[in-house]
Symmetry: C2
Subunit: 325 residues, 2 copies
């Protein structure tokens, strides 16, 4: 049975019910669930003071459960980056811990790439946001659940989606193949690392981005910054996920997300694909942040693949060998 610890690295949980509901569901799916001692702590808008949340990170890294799943995002991880013990985090990953989350968690995930190369964490659900909703609130999305369970078992080795942002009748990325380090996550949070020691220097990578509540002109400004910083041009591909929760303005006069994407495409030769099911949306895949991935496009179908969990495969081989003896 896989051990799974729920913890709160950033924003305080407004209520305990979604956490309990998520824990119950995860247990029903076969995990041995524990809730970190400070998962429900509060300090203003944070899930405890910085020292409290840092201690949680280090406590979990030491215990090295199979899964360390963040409860929610908010804001708070960037505050911890200077003090995080990256060796301890790296040690836990090497011992099999899968750290999972998205949104504000992007800061932690990409800083880990900057501080300890070759280790992957998982962009995937947040416990309360994705597994804590009551049935009346929509319950759990089937694909999100299946993908998470498969990824946590070590079996997930690819996700597929349909490129959605090209003009009608065109398939501009048909035949595209790329291989590189997968990184990224929330666009605002990633851009908040630029120029700091926590921004990973990835060349030839596959950069995925999503955001919520950011008007397209702000999305464009951030994409433009990444391009002007040389980051976009240095990638093998950019995958755009969900950009939702923004409000049209009277001053837009037709300007929208497609224009923001078009503006980026006009500035770079790097393929910019859209439609990745990742972000602040109900249906989201799991992605190994910091792992080497292979990207294939056929028509409008995009496949993102990676080698399934070596360590687990190794472990399985061992136990099968033991079984055979």
């Amino acid at each position: 049975m896989s051990t799974l610890t729920l913890f709160s690295p950033a924003g305080a949980l407004p209520a305990a019910t979604p956490l309990r509901r998520a824990a119950k569901r995860l247990a029903s799916w076969g995990f041995e669930v524990s809730i970190d001692a400070d998962a429900l702590s509060r300090d203003q808008r944070f899930a405890g003071a910085d020292a409290t949340r840092l201690a949680a990170f280090h406590r979990i890294a030491k215990a090295a459960p199979d899964v360390a799943l963040a409860t929610r995002g908010g804001y708070g991880c960037t505050r911890l980056l200077d003090q995080l013990d990256w060796k301890a985090i790296a040690h836990s990953v090497e011992h099999g811990t899968r750290w999972v989350g998205y949104s504000d968690f992007t800061a932690f995930q990409n800083a880990l790439i900057a501080h300890a190369k070759g280790l992957a964490t998982w962009a995937g659900p947040l416990a309360c946001s994705d597994f804590g909703r009551s049935e009346a609130e929509g319950g759990v999305d089937d694909i999100t659940q299946d993908c998470f369970l498969e990824a946590m078992s070590g079996a997930l080795e690819a996700v597929g989606f349909r490129e959605s942002g090209a003009p009608r009748g065109t398939q501009p990325f048909d035949g595209l193949e790329a291989r590189g380090l997968l990184w990224g996550g929330n666009l605002t949070v990633l851009c908040a690392l630029l120029s700091t020691p926590h921004f990973p220097k990835v060349k030839g990578g596959v950069l995925f981005l999503e955001d919520v509540g950011e008007h397209p002109y702000r999305v464009e400004r951030m994409l433009l910054q990444l391009q002007q910083a040389g980051v976009i041009d240095a990638q093998a591909a950019v995958l755009l996920g969900d950009f939702s929760g923004w409000t049209r303005q009277s001053t837009d006069r037709g300007y929208g997300l497609k224009d923001a994407v078009a503006s980026l495409r006009a500035r770079t030769r790097t393929p910019v694909l859209t439609g990745l099911p990742m972000g602040h949306c109900a249906t989201k895949v799991c992605l190994p942040v910091g792992a080497k991935v292979d990207l294939f496009v056929q028509g409008r179908e995009v496949i993102l693949g990676w080698q399934s969990d070596h360590r687990l495969a190794h472990r399985h081989a061992h136990s099968e060998a033991a079984h055979a003896h």
Copy 2:
């Protein structure tokens, strides 16, 4: 009579009336006002396509009026930075043109420091936003008007304000003296330049910051980024202006702007002063972005001074000398 050109470097003007009203007022204050041919152009949310707005910059730089006053902010200057002819802009400044604006204009102003050292532009009003309001909408703020007129005449050589963010009964910056290059402006727009060739590398400077519509946790995240990037620690002082237009969230639990400021102060030895009358507020001073300034604090009173306009002083001396002959 000073010549003044109104132009639109970023967002489209929703209506012509505020522009006409501003032009009329500026004329009544003694300027020979011209309106750039594309000041009312529109392309989606922009005041004309990038090429149109670039051409306006270069047309004005060539004409070199005494004052080049932006009509409004929005979003758009960062799109132009790669293509702007910085030599032409620098040439206009050397020939006496005072470029004036704030908000999105921050991108242009700080990029000029990055590309052509030793030249100042002016953080100050925007024509439509500050001088385009009808009397029913509040009209023109007296201090904003006086400060602008004095700055444009070349006479303004200091502004004063009261430090407002310290705990009661304390005067932590009493006696502070600093001298350095003044730079900054809108926090979001400045941060959008980080890691790009357009971010100025200023050491020992006086960095001023303001923003609108950004929740304190976002302000904190950006200040934290500047600190983690080494920018804050490298400054002689940081001056915070107006941060308004944001909405409290139920998850704040008491967290607000003061906490964002406290968080920055806890991370740096650089004095972080508050209360600068600059930003998206009615009453704003004019500040020479890119000029050397002297900062003095007595009790809670802050004085920011600079050498008044040498070129103009020189010109006046000439005409007085001519008069005397």
